[in-house]
């Protein structure tokens, strides 16, 4: 196994700038790593030929002096992002190996910067899941195991985190609707960041819940996250919810200086029955912040408890409508019973094309929007969503960032929660509030539990202030000194 795959994006960039490394060498090493990581099931489509062509183009770009932070860097792309001519199915059977005739803005931004595509990454079907067990292409395995027990990588960006944690990509695109970047990052000891809603274009990103979906990145370090996030960010006229606001130099924000910064600790995030390890880790995070000169402020986010139920109305409602286009008419799967009508085609195609979790959520969404229930469920949820956003707005009058655990537990074993939707949903208890409020958040690997599995701390920031989130994340990363790596069992 080549050492090249252990490089960070920043290190590789600097070596390439000095002419000591070519993107081709780096990419070849990663193509090997991708093939070697098959047991993780992180990649559901590989694009080695394209990768090498992109690597050569990147090398030319570097020679010409046009390099940016991502030039020549091999990355994996979540199957949710449309990549022209390449498998884009949001890991659903209903898209039936769909190959779009277009490119998502997020990936186009990466390619414009000279990044290299290794392939498409596994995910929960339509990003609905917290364990990557709902993918049509089978579950992703966490490179980290609990002893000999295999664990889930978290979800929905399971392929993204597994590829990065398993050294089969230097970084990966991901998407977060209710925690789908942060929770899996925490499960795999990687750094995940979800920027402010509107920071990255949703154009070409298969929609789950439009008012919540936001692209982001998974990397092994905070610095790499800053570099990659900057590349995918930016205003896009093709997305009406994209906001025209300057993208700062995120890497420059990593000054390490957080003296005087106010860090909020929300009391509502202390859950009954929270594991003592997690509480200890959180306390440790608070100490690290203090040691770095930050001021700790106790805050209250009173509606936290209602975030999950709110989310499980809003997201399914939007999803039930967003997924109506998968009807077997223009693309994707079409199953018609012999002599069947148009309606028969809809029923069969959608009945056979969607997995159980997707069906469940489409059904909930359809129900809460239907006549007689709209006000009681949907409007009520939108109102509570407003209260949750107000909680954060109030808190940010006192503090600059908020520090919490990312997930209520470390990675769990396959099947442990998949029989109980509610138990699964509770995984997102710490991540969902920020998604509802549209604010940026990250998960920083901060320690290991007693079984040797990674745990993460979550940093939440003010809208459009990813720079501070990154700065604080880097200080945590430094203090935690998280240098653990999973034992490589998969090759």
């Amino acid at each position: 196994m080549s050492d090249l795959i252990k490089l960070t994006i920043a290190e590789a960039r600097d070596l390439m700038a000095k002419g000591e490394l070519s993107s081709r060498e780096l990419t070849e090493a990663h193509i090997d790593a991708v093939n070697g990581a098959d047991p993780l099931n992180a990649y559901i489509a590989k694009t080695p030929d394209q990768a090498l062509a992109m690597a050569d183009a990147a090398d030319a770009k570097i020679k010409a002096g046009d390099a940016t932070g991502m030039t020549g860097i091999p990355v994996g792309i979540k199957d949710l992002f449309a990549t022209k001519g390449v498998h884009t199915a949001a890991c659903s059977h209903i898209l039936n190996e769909f190959k779009p005739e277009y490119e998502s803005t997020v990936t186009q931004n990466l390619w414009d910067d000279g990044a290299v595509m290794l392939g498409k990454l596994n995910m929960d079907e339509f990003a609905m899941g917290s364990s990557n067990e709902t993918s049509f292409y089978g579950p992703v395995k966490n490179p980290w195991r609990r002893g000999e027990t295999e664990t889930v990588p978290g979800g929905s960006s399971g392929g993204s985190v597994a590829s990065v944690a398993g050294f089969a990509a230097m970084g990966a695109t991901a998407s977060d609707t209710g925690g789908s970047i942060r929770q899996p990052a925490a499960f795999t000891g990687t750094f995940g960041i979800k920027p402010t809603y509107g920071r990255c274009s949703r154009y070409g990103m298969v929609a789950f819940a439009s008012s919540l979906d936001q692209a982001g990145t998974v990397t092994r370090t905070v610095r790499d996250g800053a570099i990659m996030l900057e590349s995918i960010s930016g205003f896009d006229a093709k997305d009406s919810t994209s906001v025209d606001i300057d993208v700062p130099n995120f890497e420059a924000a990593l000054t390490g200086d957080i003296r005087g910064l106010k860090v909020g600790i929300p009391k509502e995030y202390y859950l009954d029955g929270m594991s003592p390890e997690l509480e200890t880790l959180w306390q440790q995070g608070i100490e690290w912040m203090k040691a770095a000169g930050a001021e700790i402020v106790d805050i209250s986010l009173p509606h936290t408890k209602y975030a999950l139920p709110t989310y499980y109305i809003v997201a399914p409602a939007e999803a039930s409508s967003n997924l109506a286009r998968y009807d077997g008419v223009r693309y994707g799967l079409r199953n018609v019973p012999e002599g069947g009508s148009l309606d028969d085609m809809y029923y069969t195609t959608r009945g056979e094309g969607f997995g159980d979790e997707v069906k469940r959520r489409v059904m909930i969404g359809t129900y809460v929007l239907s006549a007689g229930y709209y006000d009681a469920y949907y409007i009520k949820a939108q109102k509570v969503r407003q209260l949750i956003a107000n909680d954060f707005a109030e808190a940010y009058k006192q503090v600059d960032v908020i520090l919490t655990p990312t997930a209520p537990s470390a990675a769990f074993a396959f099947g442990e929660k998949s029989d109980d939707p509610l138990a699964m949903y509770l995984n997102d208890v710490f991540t969902v509030p920020a998604s509802l409020a549209g604010i940026p958040g990250s998960s920083v690997p901060a320690g290991l539990d007693k079984n040797g599995l990674p745990l993460g701390l979550q940093v939440l920031g003010k809208a459009w202030d990813e720079a501070t989130v990154l700065k604080v994340s880097a200080v945590l990363e430094e203090a935690a000194g998280f240098t653990h790596e999973p034992k490589i069992w998969w090759r």
Binding site: A82, Y102, R202, Y203, G204, S210, S240, A324, L369, Y374
Partner: protein, 495 residues
């Protein structure tokens, strides 16, 4: 016109009608994509990936469609909502790619307004408009191209529509027809919809209910997508009759969607549409609220041309046209355009105030021109005689070059050949003779040739002057200026 009454076996019933008109907005590109709205392209040639609802595609709104909706609202004196919201209307159909239509439900862009109907003989009636909202058109399904398949073309998918919803203010098929006629006139004047019902750029859903006089509103049925004004009138007649028959038989009206069959002259239930229609409207999370300021509305207002009712008033008050003539001329934008172009040219050519020649011009347009067009089965835009040519012809009458009678002959040739009036007059030597010497000579000849009649005249038979005028005109082939003839003839006859 007396009240429209449907006589049942026992009671008299009145009908209550409301119309939902879908009017296709005139714009270059679609409401939420950059594909063209042009009619008649190859299948799926005017479809963007947004219109085809490819995964991850997003809507962005066309400013012109917003402006056109606001202009339409202003033209019917409606309140314009500076804040409106796009919602998704969810249902499945083969030509609805997204699985929902983007429409406006709770917060439409235009609120209440009024359309004033012209019911003939100077009678008018105000019909309330409840709202106008913007929404996407669907694609087109063709069921008769293949024995097993329906073909779907998405060229219309995403074209902007204005749904103009009236209040249930109409009480006869005639009023419904007058409403559609007037609405179409207004839309065409302001250029927000071409009003072409055959091509489907304007279609009406007709809500019909009946009740005994004085009773509260009955249960209504909605007749979907009626595509001509005549069919709307017929559909109302047969639907109202159907409902009366049911009620008189002791039955009840089911609120449902129906389809009008113009061949069988009946409406029938569209049960398929009824089944489980729960549209689950909710605000489209891909779009933000639509907002604009007063300056935008003011600019839209300034861009409006003179509206038909304003024009009609001006034609009567300023140009002195009869109310009837003014009404006919403004009913079609093309007619009033023609008339106004002709009047302007005529007034400048003959150096006469517009008001002085307006009535003559109107009579000519409505008489000679409309008559010829009618006979030839042509519309005014297809007229072989342009407004400028018409003005030339009328100017020749004004300045005495030809007589009114000759003008009719000249127009006939113009209409057939498209030639200019002057050329025809020249070619055929039709110029009026006003030369007194020449006319005097002919009068002398006529008097000399008819001594008997002269004697009778001088003996007191005054009426014989007509005989002499006729003889003079005959001798000149009708070209003698009748005024000059009259002036010269009398002294000579009197001796």
């Amino acid at each position: 016109m007396s009240k429209y009454i449907i006589q049942g076996a026992k009671d008299d019933f009145e009908v209550v009608i409301g119309l939902e008109v879908h009017a296709q907005v005139i714009s270059n590109a679609k409401l939420f994509s950059g594909a063209s709205t042009e009619f008649g392209a190859e299948p799926n040639a005017q479809v963007s990936l947004v219109d085809a609802a490819m995964p991850g595609m997003l809507p962005t709104i066309n400013a012109e469609c917003i402006r056109q909706a606001v202009r339409t609202g202003l033209a019917i004196g409606a309140e314009i909502n500076k804040y409106s919201v796009f919602d998704r209307k969810n249902y499945f159909y083969a030509d609805l790619p997204q699985g929902y239509q983007i429409s406006q439900f709770k917060h439409p862009i235009v609120g209440e307004g009024i359309v004033t109907l012209d019911l003939g003989e100077g009678r008018t009636k105000d019909v309330g408009v409840e709202r106008i909202h913007l929404e996407q058109d669907a694609g087109k399904s063709m069921h008769d191209q293949h024995p097993q398949f329906t073909y779907v073309d998405l060229n219309r998918s995403g074209v902007a529509l204005m749904e103009i919803v009236s209040k249930p203010d109409m009480t006869s098929p005639e009023e419904a027809g007058a409403y559609l006629t007037k609405l179409r006139t207004i839309l065409r004047y302001i250029g927000t919809c071409d009003g072409n019902m055959e091509q489907g750029s304007m279609r009406a859903d007709v809500n019909v209910s009946v009740r005994r006089a004085g009773e509260p509103l009955g249960t209504r049925c909605e007749i979907k997508n009626v595509n001509s004004i005549r069919f709307v009138r017929q559909a109302i007649e047969v639907e109202a009759r159907r409902q009366v028959d049911i009620i008189e038989d002791g039955g009840e009206i089911d609120q449902e969607t129906r389809l009008f069959d113009p061949v069988k002259l009946e409406t029938r239930s569209m049960r398929s549409k009824e089944e489980a229609h729960d549209y689950r409207y909710f605000p489209d999370p891909d779009l933000l609220p639509l907002e604009f300021d007063d300056a935008f509305i003011d600019a839209a207002r300034v861009s409006l041309p003179e509206l038909p009712d304003e024009k009609r008033t001006r034609f009567v008050d300023v140009l002195g046209l009869s109310d009837y003539n003014a009404g006919v001329l403004v009913a079609e934008k093309e007619s009033s355009d023609y008339f106004e172009a002709l009047l302007e040219a005529l007034s400048s050519k003959s150096k006469a105030a517009a008001a002085k020649v307006a009535s003559k011009a109107a009579n000519w347009v409505m008489g000679d021109l409309f008559g010829a067009l009618n006979k030839a089965g042509k519309t005014i835009t297809e007229s072989p005689v342009s407004a400028a040519q018409g003005a030339d012809l009328l100017a020749l009458v004004e300045d005495g070059t030809i007589s009114g009678r000759i003008a009719k002959d000249v127009f006939e040739v113009m209409f057939e050949t498209g030639k200019d009036a002057e050329a025809i007059v020249e070619e055929k030597g039709l110029k009026q003779v006003s030369d007194t010497g020449e006319i005097e000579k002919i009068i002398d000849e006529v008097i000399a040739a008819n001594p008997g009649q002269l004697e009778q005249y001088r003996g007191g038979k005054d009426k014989l002057i007509g005989f002499f005028v006729g003889q003079v005109m005959k001798a000149t082939g009708g070209k003698a200026n009748p005024g000059v003839v009259n002036k010269l003839l009398k002294p000579k006859l009197d001796g």
